[in-house]
């Protein structure tokens, strides 16, 4: 990696400094921009996903799905949003007002915080912290506390059961998730997400982590599906048993927070799967190789813009493949029982992920060239 690609931050700050601002002021003006962009992008992603979920579900059931609100029903998420924002915000009697309000916020915020470390390109992320992946796992562990809060604060037995289940499920599946991520970290010698992608981008599709971490990839997918509470593992909100689990009593904006949070979580999990195992923003053939074929120098501004756009597109395409898989899986497999869920988590995924970690470590010692020595 010789080029640094586009560095929007530096160009923005130098532009402001040239206008006569102090470096501190320029930095302070820069800081909210990527955050705002990320929040908007994540929200837009969620809107696209809710529409996709409806359309793909409809197609899987041989229906048409939303088709009246705008062309192909694309305005349905906006209608959803308006509906949820204008609905009455109900506080059930004898509910704990503090926990009841804090719960959805604690579910919603960590997911959006996690988008801090999701890279879309060399410099196209909010902050490239050295403990990126660790930050992600640690932050997403806050979520079950919010779920437990909202379940406990609702003064409703279904909510309480849903909250407890959510906590049990999150704790059980966090371990295999973290262990499978750890194997990837072991190979890339670092916790930062950019480093993980760069380690995979040498040979295009051949150097992606899926080929070196097939077991870890499957474990990550299953665990991520359980973490996001999608259908084979949607016990916390199992509607046939628990009405709607921890968000039974919620309506209006607080319910919208849960809704947004759960879809943002799925998008985050898909993005992370793309970043950790499918080479993040890297194209099937490395952009550097294509540039060399075409005889374009790497510091060509058009090439850099093209590469950045391609990177964002690739990340999104890879992520949406997982979103599609999750929706497809939703209409394929029935919901597991709570004992089956914990069985799968503790008796299958955990030992297998340990074996995977040990195997990765052994292979790294044996073939340091292939497994990031």
């Amino acid at each position: 990696m010789t080029t640094t690609g586009i560095d929007l931050q530096r160009s923005f700050e130098t532009a402001l400094r040239n206008l006569g601002l102090s470096p501190g002021a320029a930095h302070a003006l820069w800081i909210p921009l990527p955050m705002l962009l990320m929040v908007i992008a994540a929200t837009l992603g969620v809107m696209v996903m809710t529409w996709l979920e409806r359309k793909i579900s409809a197609a899987a059931q041989q229906r048409i799905g939303p088709n009246m609100a705008g062309p192909q029903g694309v305005l349905i998420p906006i209608a959803d949003g308006i509906k949820l924002l204008t609905k009455e915000d109900v506080l059930p009697s004898l509910a704990d007002p503090v926990l009841f309000t804090l719960g959805p916020i604690l579910v919603f915020l960590p997911v959006f915080l996690c988008y801090l470390v999701v890279p879309f390109g060399q410099n196209l992320l909010i902050s490239n912290i050295a403990i990126g992946v660790f930050f992600l796992i640690a932050t997403s562990s806050v979520q079950p506390i919010g779920l437990l809060m909202s379940g406990y604060g609702s003064n409703n037995k279904y909510s309480l059961l849903g909250g407890l289940r959510a906590a049990a499920q999150s704790i059980s599946y966090e371990l295999p998730l973290a262990l499978s991520v750890l194997a990837v970290v072991l190979m890339s010698n670092g916790l930062d997400t950019v480093g993980i992608v760069e380690q995979q981008s040498g040979l295009g599709i051949l150097s992606w982590n899926v080929w070196r971490q097939p077991i870890g990839f499957v474990i990550f997918l299953i665990a991520a599906l359980a973490e996001t509470e999608r259908i084979p593992f949607d016990l916390p909100e199992a509607e046939e048993e628990l009405v709607a689990g921890y968000h039974t009593e919620y309506s209006g904006i607080k319910f919208a927070l849960f809704y947004l949070g759960s879809y943002a979580n799925l998008l985050l999990a898909s993005l992370m799967a793309a970043v950790l195992y499918l080479g993040g923003w890297s194209f099937v053939v490395p952009v550097e190789t294509i540039a060399a074929w075409l005889g374009i120098p790497l510091d060509n501004p058009f090439l850099q813009i093209g590469a950045a756009v391609l990177g964002i597109l690739m990340t999104m395409v890879k992520a949406f493949i997982f979103v599609f898989l999750a929706i497809l899986l939703r209409w394929t497999v029935p919901r597991v029982r709570i004992d089956q869920l914990l069985d799968l988590g503790w008796k299958f995924l955990l030992p297998v992920s340990f074996v995977n970690l040990l195997l990765t470590a052994a292979l790294k010692l044996a073939f340091p060239a292939f497994f990031g020595g």
Binding site: I56, A59, Q61, Q62, R63, I64, V218, L328, L329, T332
Partner: protein, 207 residues
């Protein structure tokens, strides 16, 4: 050795489970390429079958106010308002009403009406803003039903049993295609032919 064998079985079980889930996903994926089977209601409507029991039609002039319909109704629903005319020595009907918010559409009244002044229609779109509007008086009951096939706004679709053999999609049927099996008039003609043949055979037989 037994431990290794158990591990091997465990692994093969896991692979089998993964294989079955994969197969299931294949089936679901295949469904995404199929044409939707749903009827796009306000634009497409199913043609009700011949024996469909919809809104009840009432002919005021035929009614003799015998109140049989009330007696056979499971909930005595029809309201028959009449007065005995001493001059004519006849019951004179003032008004007749059925509340379709309460009616269960069993059509017992139609079945037992001695003068056939009641009949069932294929109307089923009875939605109103107020449930009291469902209480139809004799004028509302006397309105003729609209046919789905004659509505220019609606694409009429045949029900499943009325599709040709092997066809499950009511869209884009070739013109003149018939449902599976024989039509009642065909069966009738066949029966008639068979009877004639039999009669001929008995006549020709030497006694």
């Amino acid at each position: 050795m037994t431990f290794l064998k158990r591990v091997g079985e465990y692994v093969s079980d896991a692979f089998k489970a993964a294989k079955y889930i994969g197969q299931g996903m294949g089936v679901v994926f295949d469904h995404m390429n199929r044409r939707p089977v749903t009827v796009q209601y306000p634009f497409e409507k199913l043609i009700p079958s011949e024996r469909f029991r919809g809104r009840i039609h009432f002919e005021f002039d035929k009614c003799i106010a015998c109140e049989i319909c009330v007696r056979v109704c499971p909930i005595d629903l029809p309201v028959v308002d009449w007065v005995y005319n001493t001059e004519l020595k006849k019951k004179e009907l003032y008004s007749y009403s059925i509340d379709f918010g309460v009616c269960i559409f069993c059509a017992n009244c139609v079945e037992f009406c001695p003068t056939n002044c009641l009949s069932v229609t294929e109307d089923y779109e009875l939605a109103t803003y107020d449930r009291h509007e469902l209480n139809y008086h004799q004028v509302a009951l006397g309105r003729l039903p609209s046919k789905v096939t004659e509505d220019p706004m609606v694409t009429p679709l045949r029900e499943f049993a009325y599709l040709p053999k092997g066809v499950i999609d009511p869209h884009d049927l070739p013109a003149g295609s018939q449902r599976a099996g024989k039509r009642p008039e065909e069966i009738l003609a066949e029966m008639k032919a068979a009877k004639e043949k039999e009669a001929k055979a008995t006549a020709e037989q030497p006694a």
